[in-house]
């Protein structure tokens, strides 16, 4: 009665290659042509897994509705989406930080307008600081906003910091460290618990060193 196949929603883009490598290391079969394929749904050669290739922001939705049992997606997307799911595992890949950035000003942080792709995260962050700010939604090249006077600050992901540097911006504050997570649908977590547990344990083993490295780094940067 239950479809015993596991359907996994993968985030296209930044974290895809690392995700596939981890899956392979954990002995989870991945179709060979997955990277080149233009198909949106692929099956593993043994038929036990089905992969949905999705835009990262859509992954939590697929998983909440149960059209995918599991999803692999960045914490940034999860924080922004606030979907009702199980967050099972940190994979230690796609590591970066959600930051408040801007021009290196000396005004002492009176912020009135913030540009971001992450409306919820930005709003919540400034609220928790007791500041009411206007958040302007931008979908790309958010770094542009302070340069052209659209906003005092931006809230965005910082991976290496190079884009910031090249545009003369600095990190004013780190909001939260971000990495890639394995999430599960509530029904799947119960009805396919054995398959999910074994997959998660496999991934936990191969990702443990990455998570350790990430934690060490965070400890060093005092977060």
């Amino acid at each position: 009665m239950t479809d015993q196949r596991l359907t996994i929603a993968l985030s296209k883009g930044r974290i895809m290659l690392d995700t596939l490598r981890l899956l392979q290391q954990a002995g989870i079969p991945v179709p060979e042509d997955l990277e080149e394929s233009r198909k949106l749904i692929l099956e593993s050669p043994d038929g036990r897994y089905r992969y949905i290739l999705a835009k990262p922001v859509d992954v939590p939705t697929y998983v909440e509705y149960g059209v995918a049992d599991l999803g692999i997606v960045g914490k940034d997307v999860l924080l922004e989406a606030e979907r009702d799911l199980y967050e099972l595992l940190d994979l230690g890949i796609g590591v970066c930080r959600m930051c408040v950035c801007g021009l290196p000003d000396g005004k002492g942080g009176s912020v009135s307008r913030v540009a971001s792709k992450y409306l919820r995260i930005a709003t919540e962050h400034f609220r928790s600081r007791g500041q009411q700010v206007e958040v302007v939604y931008l979908n790309g090249s958010v770094e542009l906003a302070p340069l052209i006077g659209l906003a005092d600050r931006i809230v965005d992901l910082v991976e290496t910091g190079r884009t910031l540097q090249e545009n003369g911006l600095v990190i004013h504050e780190v909001i939260v460290p971000i990495s890639t997570r394995v999430v599960a649908n509530r029904m799947s977590f119960r009805l396919k618990s054995e398959q999910i547990n074994s997959l998660v344990e496999g991934l936990r083993e191969v990702s443990a060193p990455l998570v350790q490295a990430q934690n060490d780094l965070l400890a060093k940067t005092n977060l």
């Binding site: 239950t2 149960g66 199980y86 940190d90 119960r190 009805l191």
Partner: protein, 425 residues
């Protein structure tokens, strides 16, 4: 803001067209009958009440509640659940009724949702409340009744996760001295965010507490989990919770439903509401839980009557979706009798004859009996003095005993003839 177009509805509400409405009512009826067979009596309470009533037992964020202001200036709200109104009734109108009270309901519930989340704002819940029974038998009755009802309505392959909030509270109080850390840990588990839970444990605790707490998300499975969990803690509260679950499990064995039940000691359904055993049910091909509930011993007291209580709800739209997809509902055929003026009396009498036999029938006066209208879901037939003909290209209709419409018409005519014959004598 754009003016709404005439066909538009507010977000998250829906219309049920006749076929689906009939299916929905059928399920509600079957569920209500199942509840009644366990001694639960239906109660109807107002769709809106004072906000203060709901505030007593609010489960989610208060900004999810639809509120408006009465002429008197008091804030009233559309019910965001049925538990608080029933607690109010149990503590006031039914104050002198002996406990335990067994009440059931089917009610539409209102909660504001995030604009793009695609969740229902108005939905229907059927549920029961067992007020005044603190025993594990009462908790087991909830799980067994949920399982039995889901079976009755035809849900297949469902599972019920069963937990006890006392276990988590006990273990955390024993292991973690700082109450703010305890709250963060509980919040992470309530969010089902095991990653945050683990990170907090690693950051805030040292061995052996660390290893103990890291076991918590793994405490899932059959009854053997209870013994495993017992090894982890000496907390009186936690051990009582485990003992409570063991007793509930024993009663569930007697009810014969343990095959459907999984223990999950990390299960928390929201914070600060439930006080004991909690459970949640899931079915294949439905991403959201289909039922859930638990013990809330402190709510009724807030309304002025000390009474431990437990209850659960079934999400009607969710089981409806599953059952419609699985083909539970046979297409409901109706009969459309077409008649011309000379046959009016004969036809309308025959319609009455069919209705007495529980056959849904409508009648239509037509000018040309050969060209009756085609109506979806209906068998069109023409009545003439001596026979009944089924519309061209349509399959016939048979009643529950397998008698065709044509034959029923002959039975009707014979009856009529006998009656007329009898009156003549």
């Amino acid at each position: 803001m754009k003016k709404s177009l005439l066909f538009e509805k507010p977000q998250g509400v829906r219309d049920f067209l006749p076929d689906t409405a009939a299916d929905k009512r059928q399920i509600e009826r079957e569920i209500s009958e199942s509840f009644a067979s366990w001694g639960y009596r239906e109660i109807i309470t107002p769709m809106f009440e004072y906000m203060d009533t709901f505030r007593m037992g609010i489960r989610g964020a208060e900004d999810r509640v639809f509120k408006f202001v009465e002429r008197s200036g008091k804030t009233v709200a559309l019910r965001p659940d049925m538990t608080a109104p029933i607690a109010r009734v149990a503590a006031s109108l039914l104050k002198h009724s002996a406990l335990p009270l067994r009440l059931s309901y089917t009610a539409n519930i209102f909660r504001q949702q995030e604009a793009v989340a695609g969740r229902d704002t108005e939905f229907t819940q059927s549920g029961v409340e067992l007020i005044g029974d603190p025993s594990p038998d009462g908790d087991a009755e909830m799980v067994a009744l949920a399982a039995s009802t889901l079976q009755t309505i035809g849900i297949e392959g469902f599972r019920i996760a069963l937990g006890q909030v006392g276990f988590l509270h006990g273990v955390l109080e024993e292991q973690v001295a700082d109450s703010s850390v305890r709250e963060k840990l509980l919040a992470a588990l309530a969010d089902k965010d095991y990653v945050a839970f683990e990170q907090l444990v690693v950051k805030e605790t040292v061995e052996p507490t660390r290893s103990t707490l890291l076991q918590i998300p793994k405490l899932r499975g059959g009854v053997e989990v209870l013994a495993e969990a017992g090894q982890l803690t000496g907390s009186e509260l936690a051990l009582q919770a485990l003992q409570n679950l063991a007793e509930i499990w024993h009663v569930l064995q007697i009810h014969g439903v343990t095959d459907y039940v999984q223990i999950d000691l990390s299960l928390l359904l929201g914070l600060n509401y439930y006080t004991g055993a909690v459970f949640e049910g899931y079915a294949p091909m439905m991403g959201f839980p289909i039922c859930g509930g638990g013990r809330y011993d402190e709510l009724v007291e807030k309304f002025g009557r000390q009474a431990p209580a437990t209850g659960f709800i079934i999400g009607i739209e969710r089981v409806l979706e599953i059952l419609e997809r699985n083909g539970k509902f046979a297409p409901k055929q109706r009969v459309l009798l077409c008649y011309t003026l000379p046959e009016r009396e004969q036809a309308l009498r025959f319609a009455g004859f069919l209705r007495d036999r529980k056959i849904p029938v409508s009648a239509l006066l037509v000018s040309d009996p050969k060209h009756g209208p085609t109506v979806e879901g209906s068998v069109t037939c023409n009545v003439s003095a001596d026979r009944l003909t089924i519309g061209e290209g349509q399959e016939g209709y048979t009643d529950r005993e397998g008698i065709s419409l044509e034959d029923l018409y002959q039975v009707f005519r014979n009856q009529l003839r006998n009656q007329q014959g009898g009156s003549e004598e």
